[in-house]
Symmetry: C2
Subunit: 214 residues, 2 copies
Protein backbone atom coordinates (compact mmCIF):
# COMPACT_ATOMS: atom_id res chain seq x y z
CA UNK A 1 0.00 0.00 0.00
CA UNK A 2 1.16 3.49 -0.83
CA UNK A 3 2.43 5.34 2.26
CA UNK A 4 3.37 8.92 3.00
CA UNK A 5 6.84 8.87 4.49
CA UNK A 6 9.61 11.05 5.80
CA UNK A 7 12.97 9.31 5.65
CA UNK A 8 16.50 10.18 6.64
CA UNK A 9 15.43 13.36 8.34
CA UNK A 10 18.02 14.50 10.87
CA UNK A 11 17.54 16.53 14.03
CA UNK A 12 20.07 17.75 16.55
CA UNK A 13 19.85 16.81 20.22
CA UNK A 14 18.25 20.20 20.83
CA UNK A 15 15.60 19.40 18.23
CA UNK A 16 16.57 21.46 15.20
CA UNK A 17 16.10 20.07 11.69
CA UNK A 18 17.89 22.94 9.96
CA UNK A 19 20.06 25.86 10.91
CA UNK A 20 19.09 29.50 10.68
CA UNK A 21 19.66 31.77 7.67
CA UNK A 22 19.47 29.47 4.66
CA UNK A 23 21.12 30.90 1.54
CA UNK A 24 22.70 29.74 -1.70
CA UNK A 25 26.02 29.35 0.13
CA UNK A 26 24.51 27.46 3.06
CA UNK A 27 21.49 25.51 1.79
CA UNK A 28 20.83 23.90 5.19
CA UNK A 29 21.31 27.06 7.24
CA UNK A 30 24.04 27.80 9.78
CA UNK A 31 25.35 24.50 11.10
CA UNK A 32 22.71 22.57 9.19
CA UNK A 33 25.16 20.66 7.05
CA UNK A 34 26.93 19.36 10.16
CA UNK A 35 23.68 17.70 11.18
CA UNK A 36 24.11 15.31 8.27
CA UNK A 37 27.70 14.27 8.84
CA UNK A 38 26.45 10.83 9.86
CA UNK A 39 25.25 10.33 6.29
CA UNK A 40 28.28 11.57 4.36
CA UNK A 41 30.53 8.51 4.79
CA UNK A 42 27.81 6.02 3.82
CA UNK A 43 28.14 4.08 0.59
CA UNK A 44 24.66 5.08 -0.60
CA UNK A 45 25.36 8.76 -0.06
CA UNK A 46 28.82 8.50 -1.65
CA UNK A 47 27.21 6.83 -4.64
CA UNK A 48 25.07 9.93 -5.21
CA UNK A 49 28.32 11.84 -5.56
CA UNK A 50 29.61 9.31 -8.11
CA UNK A 51 31.90 7.43 -5.71
CA UNK A 52 32.20 3.68 -5.27
CA UNK A 53 33.42 3.65 -1.69
CA UNK A 54 31.72 4.29 1.64
CA UNK A 55 30.56 2.57 4.82
CA UNK A 56 28.11 -0.32 4.67
CA UNK A 57 26.88 -0.48 8.25
CA UNK A 58 23.68 0.48 10.00
CA UNK A 59 23.71 4.15 8.99
CA UNK A 60 24.14 3.14 5.35
CA UNK A 61 21.27 0.68 5.68
CA UNK A 62 18.94 3.51 6.66
CA UNK A 63 20.06 5.65 3.73
CA UNK A 64 19.49 2.71 1.37
CA UNK A 65 16.06 2.05 2.82
CA UNK A 66 15.06 5.70 2.44
CA UNK A 67 15.32 5.43 -1.34
CA UNK A 68 13.39 2.17 -1.66
CA UNK A 69 9.86 2.16 -3.03
CA UNK A 70 9.69 5.94 -3.49
CA UNK A 71 7.26 6.83 -6.30
CA UNK A 72 7.18 10.60 -5.86
CA UNK A 73 8.64 13.33 -3.67
CA UNK A 74 7.13 16.43 -2.17
CA UNK A 75 9.40 19.21 -1.00
CA UNK A 76 9.11 22.78 0.16
CA UNK A 77 10.41 25.57 -1.93
CA UNK A 78 13.32 26.20 0.42
CA UNK A 79 14.53 22.65 -0.08
CA UNK A 80 14.35 23.20 -3.83
CA UNK A 81 16.35 26.40 -3.74
CA UNK A 82 17.10 29.84 -2.31
CA UNK A 83 14.95 31.81 -4.80
CA UNK A 84 12.08 33.63 -3.03
CA UNK A 85 8.96 35.35 -4.38
CA UNK A 86 7.90 35.10 -8.04
CA UNK A 87 10.26 33.02 -10.23
CA UNK A 88 12.37 35.58 -12.10
CA UNK A 89 13.18 33.02 -14.83
CA UNK A 90 13.56 29.27 -15.28
CA UNK A 91 17.27 29.20 -14.53
CA UNK A 92 17.09 27.67 -11.06
CA UNK A 93 16.57 23.92 -11.32
CA UNK A 94 17.57 22.79 -7.83
CA UNK A 95 20.77 22.27 -5.88
CA UNK A 96 21.59 18.93 -7.46
CA UNK A 97 22.91 19.56 -11.01
CA UNK A 98 21.54 18.09 -14.23
CA UNK A 99 20.78 14.64 -12.85
CA UNK A 100 19.18 15.04 -9.40
CA UNK A 101 19.08 12.04 -7.05
CA UNK A 102 15.28 11.65 -7.22
CA UNK A 103 14.61 9.90 -10.56
CA UNK A 104 10.82 10.24 -10.07
CA UNK A 105 8.33 13.13 -10.15
CA UNK A 106 9.02 15.77 -7.49
CA UNK A 107 6.30 18.18 -6.37
CA UNK A 108 7.63 21.51 -5.14
CA UNK A 109 5.35 23.59 -2.91
CA UNK A 110 5.31 27.24 -4.00
CA UNK A 111 2.98 30.21 -4.08
CA UNK A 112 4.13 31.08 -7.60
CA UNK A 113 3.25 29.17 -10.75
CA UNK A 114 5.95 27.73 -12.92
CA UNK A 115 6.14 25.21 -15.76
CA UNK A 116 7.40 21.73 -14.90
CA UNK A 117 11.10 21.07 -15.52
CA UNK A 118 12.28 17.70 -16.82
CA UNK A 119 15.79 16.78 -15.69
CA UNK A 120 18.09 13.96 -16.68
CA UNK A 121 17.58 10.58 -15.02
CA UNK A 122 13.80 10.71 -14.63
CA UNK A 123 13.44 13.59 -12.18
CA UNK A 124 10.63 15.99 -13.13
CA UNK A 125 10.15 19.06 -10.96
CA UNK A 126 6.47 20.03 -10.79
CA UNK A 127 5.38 23.22 -9.08
CA UNK A 128 2.23 23.07 -6.98
CA UNK A 129 0.49 26.25 -5.84
CA UNK A 130 -2.55 24.65 -4.17
CA UNK A 131 -0.91 23.74 -0.83
CA UNK A 132 -0.02 20.42 0.70
CA UNK A 133 -3.33 18.67 -0.02
CA UNK A 134 -3.05 19.50 -3.73
CA UNK A 135 0.55 18.30 -3.74
CA UNK A 136 -0.44 15.06 -2.03
CA UNK A 137 -3.18 14.42 -4.56
CA UNK A 138 -0.88 14.99 -7.49
CA UNK A 139 1.95 13.01 -5.94
CA UNK A 140 -0.30 10.02 -5.20
CA UNK A 141 -1.40 9.88 -8.83
CA UNK A 142 2.24 9.85 -9.92
CA UNK A 143 3.53 7.09 -7.64
CA UNK A 144 2.24 3.95 -9.38
CA UNK A 145 1.39 2.57 -5.97
CA UNK A 146 4.78 3.34 -4.45
CA UNK A 147 5.29 5.70 -1.52
CA UNK A 148 5.20 9.46 -1.43
CA UNK A 149 8.31 10.73 0.34
CA UNK A 150 8.16 14.16 1.94
CA UNK A 151 11.66 15.57 1.66
CA UNK A 152 11.70 18.76 3.71
CA UNK A 153 12.44 21.32 4.89
CA UNK A 154 11.32 21.58 8.45
CA UNK A 155 8.25 23.75 7.81
CA UNK A 156 6.99 21.38 5.11
CA UNK A 157 7.32 18.34 7.36
CA UNK A 158 5.66 20.24 10.20
CA UNK A 159 2.66 21.02 8.00
CA UNK A 160 2.26 17.37 7.02
CA UNK A 161 2.69 16.19 10.62
CA UNK A 162 0.21 18.69 11.99
CA UNK A 163 -2.47 17.38 9.67
CA UNK A 164 -1.55 13.79 10.48
CA UNK A 165 -0.65 12.88 6.89
CA UNK A 166 2.67 11.17 7.61
CA UNK A 167 2.36 7.37 7.98
CA UNK A 168 5.99 6.63 8.73
CA UNK A 169 8.90 8.81 9.75
CA UNK A 170 12.55 7.86 10.04
CA UNK A 171 14.39 10.35 12.19
CA UNK A 172 18.14 10.34 12.75
CA UNK A 173 19.21 12.02 15.98
CA UNK A 174 22.64 13.50 15.47
CA UNK A 175 24.66 13.79 18.70
CA UNK A 176 25.31 17.51 18.45
CA UNK A 177 23.76 20.84 19.28
CA UNK A 178 22.71 23.41 16.71
CA UNK A 179 21.71 26.05 19.28
CA UNK A 180 19.30 27.79 16.92
CA UNK A 181 17.46 27.13 13.69
CA UNK A 182 14.20 25.48 12.72
CA UNK A 183 12.76 23.26 15.43
CA UNK A 184 10.96 20.14 14.19
CA UNK A 185 8.51 19.37 17.01
CA UNK A 186 7.99 22.74 18.72
CA UNK A 187 4.26 23.22 19.29
CA UNK A 188 3.40 19.88 17.69
CA UNK A 189 1.87 17.34 20.07
CA UNK A 190 3.05 14.11 18.45
CA UNK A 191 1.35 11.96 21.06
CA UNK A 192 -2.08 13.51 20.53
CA UNK A 193 -1.59 13.15 16.78
CA UNK A 194 -1.18 9.41 17.32
CA UNK A 195 2.54 9.05 16.65
CA UNK A 196 4.68 6.50 18.45
CA UNK A 197 8.29 5.46 18.27
CA UNK A 198 8.31 1.87 17.14
CA UNK A 199 12.04 1.25 17.04
CA UNK A 200 15.35 2.74 18.05
CA UNK A 201 18.52 1.60 16.33
CA UNK A 202 21.99 2.77 17.13
CA UNK A 203 23.95 3.58 13.99
CA UNK A 204 27.66 4.31 13.77
CA UNK A 205 27.17 8.10 13.92
CA UNK A 206 23.47 8.68 14.70
CA UNK A 207 20.55 7.15 16.55
CA UNK A 208 17.72 6.09 14.26
CA UNK A 209 14.09 6.30 15.36
CA UNK A 210 11.23 4.83 13.38
CA UNK A 211 7.94 6.59 14.07
CA UNK A 212 4.53 5.43 12.94
CA UNK A 213 1.00 6.66 13.23
CA UNK A 214 -1.70 4.67 15.04
CA UNK B 1 38.10 18.88 41.30
CA UNK B 2 34.57 19.62 42.35
CA UNK B 3 32.17 19.79 39.40
CA UNK B 4 28.59 20.91 38.94
CA UNK B 5 26.76 18.06 37.27
CA UNK B 6 23.38 16.94 36.02
CA UNK B 7 23.11 13.18 35.83
CA UNK B 8 20.47 10.71 34.74
CA UNK B 9 18.26 13.43 33.40
CA UNK B 10 15.82 12.05 30.84
CA UNK B 11 14.18 13.80 27.91
CA UNK B 12 11.69 12.51 25.39
CA UNK B 13 12.41 12.55 21.66
CA UNK B 14 10.34 15.73 21.45
CA UNK B 15 12.51 17.33 24.09
CA UNK B 16 10.42 17.29 27.25
CA UNK B 17 12.03 16.65 30.63
CA UNK B 18 8.74 16.46 32.53
CA UNK B 19 5.07 16.20 31.75
CA UNK B 20 2.48 18.89 32.35
CA UNK B 21 0.38 19.30 35.51
CA UNK B 22 2.59 17.98 38.29
CA UNK B 23 0.67 17.02 41.44
CA UNK B 24 1.01 14.77 44.46
CA UNK B 25 -0.48 11.91 42.43
CA UNK B 26 1.76 12.49 39.42
CA UNK B 27 5.06 13.95 40.68
CA UNK B 28 6.60 14.00 37.20
CA UNK B 29 3.55 15.40 35.43
CA UNK B 30 1.39 13.72 32.81
CA UNK B 31 3.44 11.00 31.13
CA UNK B 32 6.55 12.09 33.00
CA UNK B 33 7.02 8.82 34.81
CA UNK B 34 7.03 6.93 31.52
CA UNK B 35 10.09 8.92 30.53
CA UNK B 36 12.04 7.05 33.17
CA UNK B 37 11.01 3.51 32.35
CA UNK B 38 14.56 2.88 31.07
CA UNK B 39 15.77 3.32 34.66
CA UNK B 40 13.24 1.21 36.52
CA UNK B 41 14.64 -2.26 35.69
CA UNK B 42 18.23 -1.32 36.57
CA UNK B 43 19.88 -2.91 39.58
CA UNK B 44 20.91 0.46 41.04
CA UNK B 45 17.37 1.80 40.82
CA UNK B 46 15.87 -1.41 42.19
CA UNK B 47 18.29 -1.19 45.09
CA UNK B 48 16.79 2.17 46.05
CA UNK B 49 13.49 0.36 46.42
CA UNK B 50 15.08 -2.27 48.63
CA UNK B 51 15.35 -4.98 45.95
CA UNK B 52 18.35 -7.13 45.16
CA UNK B 53 17.57 -7.85 41.52
CA UNK B 54 17.76 -5.72 38.39
CA UNK B 55 19.67 -5.35 35.12
CA UNK B 56 23.42 -4.77 35.13
CA UNK B 57 24.03 -3.48 31.63
CA UNK B 58 24.79 -0.09 30.13
CA UNK B 59 21.71 1.68 31.49
CA UNK B 60 22.52 0.46 34.99
CA UNK B 61 26.10 1.65 34.57
CA UNK B 62 24.86 5.19 33.99
CA UNK B 63 22.61 5.08 37.03
CA UNK B 64 25.52 3.82 39.15
CA UNK B 65 27.82 6.54 37.83
CA UNK B 66 25.24 9.23 38.59
CA UNK B 67 25.52 8.52 42.30
CA UNK B 68 29.31 8.45 42.42
CA UNK B 69 31.24 11.31 43.99
CA UNK B 70 28.16 13.39 44.80
CA UNK B 71 28.80 15.65 47.79
CA UNK B 72 25.61 17.70 47.70
CA UNK B 73 22.42 18.08 45.69
CA UNK B 74 20.49 21.11 44.56
CA UNK B 75 16.88 20.71 43.53
CA UNK B 76 13.94 22.92 42.70
CA UNK B 77 10.97 23.07 44.98
CA UNK B 78 8.81 21.12 42.51
CA UNK B 79 11.23 18.22 42.64
CA UNK B 80 11.02 18.31 46.43
CA UNK B 81 7.25 18.28 46.50
CA UNK B 82 3.88 19.53 45.37
CA UNK B 83 3.45 22.14 48.13
CA UNK B 84 3.32 25.70 46.70
CA UNK B 85 3.56 29.09 48.37
CA UNK B 86 4.50 29.53 52.03
CA UNK B 87 5.13 26.26 53.89
CA UNK B 88 1.94 25.61 55.88
CA UNK B 89 3.83 23.35 58.32
CA UNK B 90 6.83 21.03 58.40
CA UNK B 91 4.91 17.91 57.45
CA UNK B 92 6.15 17.59 53.88
CA UNK B 93 9.64 16.07 53.82
CA UNK B 94 9.90 14.98 50.19
CA UNK B 95 8.59 12.16 48.03
CA UNK B 96 11.06 9.61 49.27
CA UNK B 97 10.03 8.47 52.74
CA UNK B 98 12.13 8.56 55.91
CA UNK B 99 15.40 7.56 54.28
CA UNK B 100 15.72 9.46 50.98
CA UNK B 101 18.22 8.22 48.37
CA UNK B 102 20.56 11.23 48.72
CA UNK B 103 22.54 10.59 51.91
CA UNK B 104 24.22 14.03 51.66
CA UNK B 105 23.06 17.64 52.13
CA UNK B 106 20.33 18.65 49.70
CA UNK B 107 19.64 22.33 48.95
CA UNK B 108 16.05 23.02 47.95
CA UNK B 109 15.36 26.26 46.06
CA UNK B 110 12.34 28.06 47.45
CA UNK B 111 11.03 31.57 47.95
CA UNK B 112 9.85 30.70 51.44
CA UNK B 113 12.09 30.17 54.45
CA UNK B 114 12.02 26.93 56.33
CA UNK B 115 14.19 25.18 58.91
CA UNK B 116 16.46 22.41 57.69
CA UNK B 117 15.13 18.87 58.05
CA UNK B 118 17.43 16.00 58.98
CA UNK B 119 16.32 12.66 57.58
CA UNK B 120 17.57 9.13 58.15
CA UNK B 121 20.63 7.99 56.23
CA UNK B 122 22.47 11.30 56.07
CA UNK B 123 20.10 13.33 53.93
CA UNK B 124 19.57 16.88 55.23
CA UNK B 125 17.10 19.07 53.38
CA UNK B 126 18.19 22.72 53.51
CA UNK B 127 15.95 25.45 52.14
CA UNK B 128 17.64 28.26 50.22
CA UNK B 129 15.77 31.49 49.45
CA UNK B 130 18.64 33.39 47.80
CA UNK B 131 18.40 31.85 44.32
CA UNK B 132 20.70 29.51 42.44
CA UNK B 133 23.95 31.35 43.19
CA UNK B 134 23.29 31.21 46.93
CA UNK B 135 22.42 27.52 46.63
CA UNK B 136 25.62 26.83 44.70
CA UNK B 137 27.71 28.61 47.28
CA UNK B 138 26.17 26.67 50.14
CA UNK B 139 26.31 23.39 48.27
CA UNK B 140 29.97 23.83 47.36
CA UNK B 141 30.86 24.34 51.03
CA UNK B 142 29.04 21.13 51.92
CA UNK B 143 30.59 18.82 49.32
CA UNK B 144 34.02 18.15 50.85
CA UNK B 145 35.48 18.46 47.38
CA UNK B 146 32.98 16.15 45.77
CA UNK B 147 30.57 17.19 43.02
CA UNK B 148 27.39 19.21 43.30
CA UNK B 149 24.62 17.40 41.48
CA UNK B 150 21.69 19.44 40.21
CA UNK B 151 18.66 17.18 40.41
CA UNK B 152 15.84 18.97 38.68
CA UNK B 153 13.21 19.78 37.70
CA UNK B 154 13.40 21.20 34.25
CA UNK B 155 13.19 24.87 35.24
CA UNK B 156 16.00 24.47 37.77
CA UNK B 157 18.30 22.82 35.24
CA UNK B 158 17.41 25.48 32.67
CA UNK B 159 18.43 28.24 35.08
CA UNK B 160 21.79 26.59 35.76
CA UNK B 161 22.39 25.94 32.05
CA UNK B 162 21.50 29.47 31.03
CA UNK B 163 24.14 30.86 33.36
CA UNK B 164 26.65 28.29 32.19
CA UNK B 165 27.14 26.72 35.63
CA UNK B 166 26.82 23.08 34.60
CA UNK B 167 30.18 21.42 33.90
CA UNK B 168 28.89 18.01 32.88
CA UNK B 169 25.47 16.76 31.93
CA UNK B 170 24.36 13.20 31.35
CA UNK B 171 21.18 13.11 29.35
CA UNK B 172 19.19 9.97 28.60
CA UNK B 173 17.05 10.23 25.48
CA UNK B 174 14.01 8.03 25.93
CA UNK B 175 12.54 6.76 22.66
CA UNK B 176 9.05 8.09 23.21
CA UNK B 177 6.98 11.22 22.76
CA UNK B 178 5.48 13.22 25.61
CA UNK B 179 3.61 15.65 23.35
CA UNK B 180 3.53 18.39 25.97
CA UNK B 181 5.21 19.33 29.21
CA UNK B 182 8.37 21.15 30.21
CA UNK B 183 10.88 21.48 27.38
CA UNK B 184 14.53 21.30 28.43
CA UNK B 185 16.33 23.23 25.68
CA UNK B 186 13.64 25.56 24.30
CA UNK B 187 15.15 29.02 23.98
CA UNK B 188 18.55 27.89 25.31
CA UNK B 189 21.38 28.09 22.79
CA UNK B 190 23.58 25.28 24.05
CA UNK B 191 26.17 25.84 21.33
CA UNK B 192 26.67 29.52 22.18
CA UNK B 193 26.92 28.58 25.85
CA UNK B 194 29.85 26.34 24.97
CA UNK B 195 28.24 22.93 25.40
CA UNK B 196 29.20 19.95 23.27
CA UNK B 197 28.19 16.32 23.17
CA UNK B 198 31.30 14.34 23.95
CA UNK B 199 29.88 10.84 23.80
CA UNK B 200 26.83 8.91 22.76
CA UNK B 201 26.23 5.44 24.21
CA UNK B 202 23.40 3.13 23.37
CA UNK B 203 21.83 1.65 26.46
CA UNK B 204 19.28 -1.14 26.53
CA UNK B 205 16.31 1.25 26.76
CA UNK B 206 17.72 4.76 26.23
CA UNK B 207 20.46 6.61 24.39
CA UNK B 208 22.94 8.27 26.70
CA UNK B 209 24.61 11.56 25.82
CA UNK B 210 27.46 13.06 27.82
CA UNK B 211 27.63 16.82 27.45
CA UNK B 212 30.47 19.02 28.66
CA UNK B 213 31.25 22.69 28.67
CA UNK B 214 34.26 24.14 26.82
Amino acid sequence: MSKITVMNFTISLDGFGAGADQSIEIPLGAGGEELHTWMFPTKRFRKMGGHDDGTEGIDNGFVEKAFENVGAWIMGRNMFGPVRGAWPDDNWTGWWGKNPPYHVPVFVLTHHERQAVTMEGGTVFNFVTGGIEAALEEARKATNGKDVRIGGGVSTIRQFLQRGYIDELHLAVSPRFLGSGEHLFSGIDMLSLGYHITSRTEGELATHMMITKD
